[in-house]
């Protein structure tokens, strides 16, 4: 029987549909799926063989990070970082696409700068271990080191400083100022410094501070998040698996997981004080 184009195409379509249906049968799956190929993939995690090569850069610079904690006790950490880290952190921030969502931008900064801040984090961790600090005291130890630094407004606008904001007026001076009225503009994108840039320059506003706290605490193993409120244009640190405190302010992630809020912009603001806003969402966790 002579078949035309329609008949042949019709057969081909239903034959292909039948083949796809056939693929659900176990005989095919067993013959095709090969678990052994994963062994090669897992080798990428081997830390013994081949031996990962040390970084060729051996030159280090030092920075002293000192602060008074909530009880007035003075702390000082001298930590090292590779020469060129500031330029590297800066380049990494600027290379982030402006089309990235905010959380994705935070993630890129966090992933990159964690490696630069290894020594600082390690020394903080050692202090916590040595002094046998409990969960809350360890959190306060880290957060107070950030809160002790005076506030500096960070803007992503060119010539954005000086400016008037609902929470005060800010000068055009991008330096640490004891009255917390400093202002840095043209910090692209999103007006947030990377964690290492903040540690180096000691100038940062809400999200820069929350991101540094997140970077240190996450590396120490705390269940934390960078929380943002779009209605308040504000950012704070979020801590999970902890009793909320007197203020009981909290935000959630996509799945409803609760993070209790910790305001880091003020020197004496301790965990449990209420934070305004009811639309807090986890941007990075």
């Amino acid at each position: 029987m002579k078949r035309n184009f329609f008949d042949i195409s019709n057969i081909v379509f239903w034959l292909l549909a039948a083949i796809i249906g056939f693929l659900f049968l176990p005989y095919f799956k067993n013959g095709v799926y090969d678990n052994k190929k994963l062994e090669e993939w897992v080798k990428a995690f081997d830390t013994i063989q081949p031996q990962p090569q040390p970084d060729p850069i051996k030159e280090y610079a030092y920075k002293i990070w000192d602060w008074n904690d909530f009880n007035g006790k003075h702390h000082s950490i001298k930590f090292k970082y590779k020469v060129g880290s500031l330029a590297s952190a800066n380049n990494n921030r600027l290379s982030s696409s402006i089309f990235n969502p905010l959380g994705e931008h935070y993630k890129e900064l966090y992933t990159h700068d964690t490696l630069i801040l290894v020594d600082l984090i390690k020394q903080m961790k050692n202090y916590i271990k040595r002094n046998n600090l409990d969960y809350m005291n360890a959190l306060e130890y880290v957060c107070s080191s950030i809160q002790d630094i005076p506030y500096t407004l960070i803007l992503n606008e060119i010539n954005g400083c000086p400016c008037e904001q609902p929470f005060g007026s800010f000068s055009a001076n991008c330096k640490v100022q004891s009255d917390g009225r400093g202002c840095c503009d043209d910090v692209m994108p999103f007006g947030v410094y990377s964690p290492f840039e903040f540690v180096y320059k000691e100038t940062g506003d809400c999200d820069t501070r929350a991101l540094l706290a997140f970077t240190i605490l996450k590396e120490m193993g705390f269940d934390v998040a960078v929380m943002v409120s779009y209605s308040k244009s504000h950012s704070v640190l979020g801590i999970a698996n902890i009793i909320g405190g007197a203020g009981n302010s909290y935000g959630t992630n996509l799945f409803g997981k609760k993070y209790y809020l910790w305001e880091l912009t003020s020197e004496n603001w301790r965990f449990g004080y209420g934070v305004e806003g009811n639309d807090w969402k986890a941007a990075l966790e």
Binding site: F5, V118, F255
Partner: protein
């Protein structure tokens, strides 16, 4: 059951002038095409449902994603199908796309006194004439733009098929994939790597540690969002493991699904039963008939209104007078 009626509008009245055999054949080809279309939409909806389960681990969101992807595929495939449904009766096609020669035939007619019945007679006569004078389905009206639009259409279909193929692979191999992911979660090398502390002078090692920690965090199940289909929070990680495990078979499966999606497109493009079929010819004639009829009626009303304005409107009063007379 006349499936073609719901998607392509294939109705009995189009075939009153053709033999029963030809009518039955046209119904067969359009019903088959509709069935292919429904099958592709069903597969796309299933694919969206699978992505919803993998990404959100929620049945309700998965249903929503399934309906969303099904809706997108429905719209895009329908668009591609309809764009390919062009009649091969070249003169009808050219008449349909440029009706001016037909309209010009009535320029000198007295349309002001045209009754609806007379208009219908004129239109039917024209339709009969066009039907009789267009007996051969032959199309040689080539335009470069058709090449460009064909490339866009094929690309669109391949994108949809690629999305669908990946999700079907997840469904087909989900049990084996879950075993692999579970073995990775408990793999001694990865766990040991993740437990390392980050070092100060070895970025290579730090990268491994960071990747190991990320991998384990992606494989860790949240108490408030348990895994449903694939035991991983990362779609890309699951895809990479699947791709590694099935190797070249993935390409074969992708091609099979791509061919499945392309077949109706090629069928519509190349089969003479569609472009050269009676349905599209009659549909084109019906389109011409409607345009012709509406032209006659609207032109009749236009001429009446024009005459009324010419006779009754006080033109002289509205003419702007020179300044010195004002």
């Amino acid at each position: 059951m006349n499936l073609g009626k719901y998607i392509f509008g294939v109705r009995e009245e189009y075939f009153t002038k053709v033999s029963d055999k030809e009518t039955a054949r046209q119904f067969l080809v359009y019903n088959n095409l509709s069935l292919m279309f429904y099958t592709l939409i069903a597969i796309s909806t299933l694919a969206g449902f699978i992505y919803g389960l993998v990404l959100f681990n929620s049945w309700w969101i998965a249903i929503g994603v399934g309906l969303f992807l099904g809706g997108i595929s429905f719209t895009l495939l329908l668009l591609v199908f309809f764009l390919n449904m062009t009649t091969n009766y070249q003169n009808l096609y050219l008449t349909m796309t440029d009706m001016n020669p037909i309209f010009q035939e009535h320029e000198n007619d007295d349309l002001k006194n045209l009754s609806d019945e007379r208009a219908e007679e004129i239109v039917q006569a024209k339709k009969m004439l066009l039907r009789e004078t267009n007996q051969e389905a032959k199309f040689d009206h080539f335009h470069l733009s058709s090449v460009v639009t064909s490339i866009i259409k094929v690309t669109l279909i391949l994108i949809i098929s690629c999305v669908v193929a990946n999700s079907l692979e997840f469904l087909i191999f989900h049990k084996s994939l879950n075993k692999s992911l579970n073995s990775l979660k408990n793999n001694a090398t990865i766990v040991a790597c993740a437990k390392h502390e980050l070092t100060e002078n070895n970025d290579d090692l730090n990268r491994k540690i960071t990747l190991a920690r990320w991998t384990l965090s992606m494989l860790k199940e949240d108490a408030n969002a348990p895994f449903i289909l694939i035991k991983s929070k990362s779609l890309l990680l699951s895809m990479e493991i699947l791709s590694l495990s099935i190797g070249k078979w993935k390409v074969v499966l992708d091609i099979v699904v791509a061919l499945l999606f392309l077949t109706p497109f090629v069928l519509l493009k190349k089969s003479k039963e569609y472009a050269g079929g009676i349905f599209l010819k009659e549909a084109a004639l019906y389109d011409i008939q409607c345009s012709h009829m509406f032209y006659l009626i609207s032109e009749r009303e236009r001429r009446k209104i024009k005459e009324k304005i010419q006779n009754e409107y006080p033109y002289n009063e509205l003419v702007k007078k020179p300044l010195h007379e004002a």
